[in-house]
Point group: C2
Chain length 143, copies 2
DNA sequence: TTATTTAGTTATCAAATGATAACAAAGAGG
DNA sequence: CCTCTTTGTTATCATTTGATAACTAAATAA
């Protein structure tokens, strides 16, 4: 298989990943936050602590919009901002207890749907899936 | 590895896929269409012909909004609507020549970034990647 | 025939999002 | 010291998006 054909496989693959992700996460988030806010919280929960600049880069937002959304999340007591003691321009963002609780709830919903999707998978299937994710993450979807 | 651990691997994996997808597709779309319109065109180009209802389901939109965006795309001459001869309520949507051209251009940009990402991959890496995508698509990200 | 359901449209409104300008404060380099 | 860069904020505006109600037309079921 040449790289061109592999590219078309990638298009189809990412489309499947997006569709299934959508299906798993549909309505999993609390109604009190927007989609963008959920994405930010998800990113924080996977990578915390995180600076506002890193959120920009990862979520493809502009600094002013990131700042706005972070203040909203802060007003809702879902995140905490800590100042860097070395470089006082920098901030570190992490989930607050409320934020952790909200994300745990969302993840629980998503996980139960995920388990339903895998209920007929054999031990070998699970091993295959794990290995495949490792391979793609190191060889293709690396940072 | 138990299913719970596999779930956390999935969260991290999908997050990587989204990040890289974002990176590859960043600014690839024409400025004359919105993000949602691009997603619709991408879906059409992979699955055409497609009905408005199918677009709803796949893109998690409401019928009125789908209808609105499709008329915008139609006004821009990017899609064509065909009537079903059997069931005259139904429509089939496909890309127009202009739409094909626009999507080919976008895909070309994305593909060149993809190739750059793979420039140091060996033949074995490519095979591994292909196999891993097949496994995940059949065992986890199936429809 | 008369409901009822399905497929899609149009209009309207509120909210979320994206983009930009103007700003402040800290660090880095000369 | 002065300048430039980095990090983040606030304010403002246009556009996109999501949601809902009210509607038409065709198919289907009773």
């Amino acid at each position: 298989m040449d790289k061109n054909a592999l590219f078309y496989k990638l298009v189809s693959f990412t489309s499947s990943v997006h569709r299934v992700t959508h299906e798993l996460t549909k309505n999993a988030k609390s109604d009190s936050i927007s989609q963008v806010q959920y994405s930010i919280l998800e990113y924080i929960s996977v990578s915390q602590p995180v600076t506002p600049s890193e959120i920009n880069d990862c979520q493809n937002m502009s600094m002013p919009n990131t700042s706005r959304e972070l203040s909203k999340l802060s007003k809702k007591n879902l995140i905490e901002k800590l100042n860097d003691t070395e470089d006082r321009r920098k901030q570190y963002i992490r989930l607050s207890n409320d934020g952790e609780a909200m994300m745990n709830e969302a993840f629980a919903t998503i996980e139960s749907r995920f388990l339903k999707r895998l209920e007929n998978a054999s031990k070998e299937d699970l091993d295959d899936i794990e290995r495949a994710m490792d391979i793609l993450q190191t060889k293709l979807f690396y940072p």
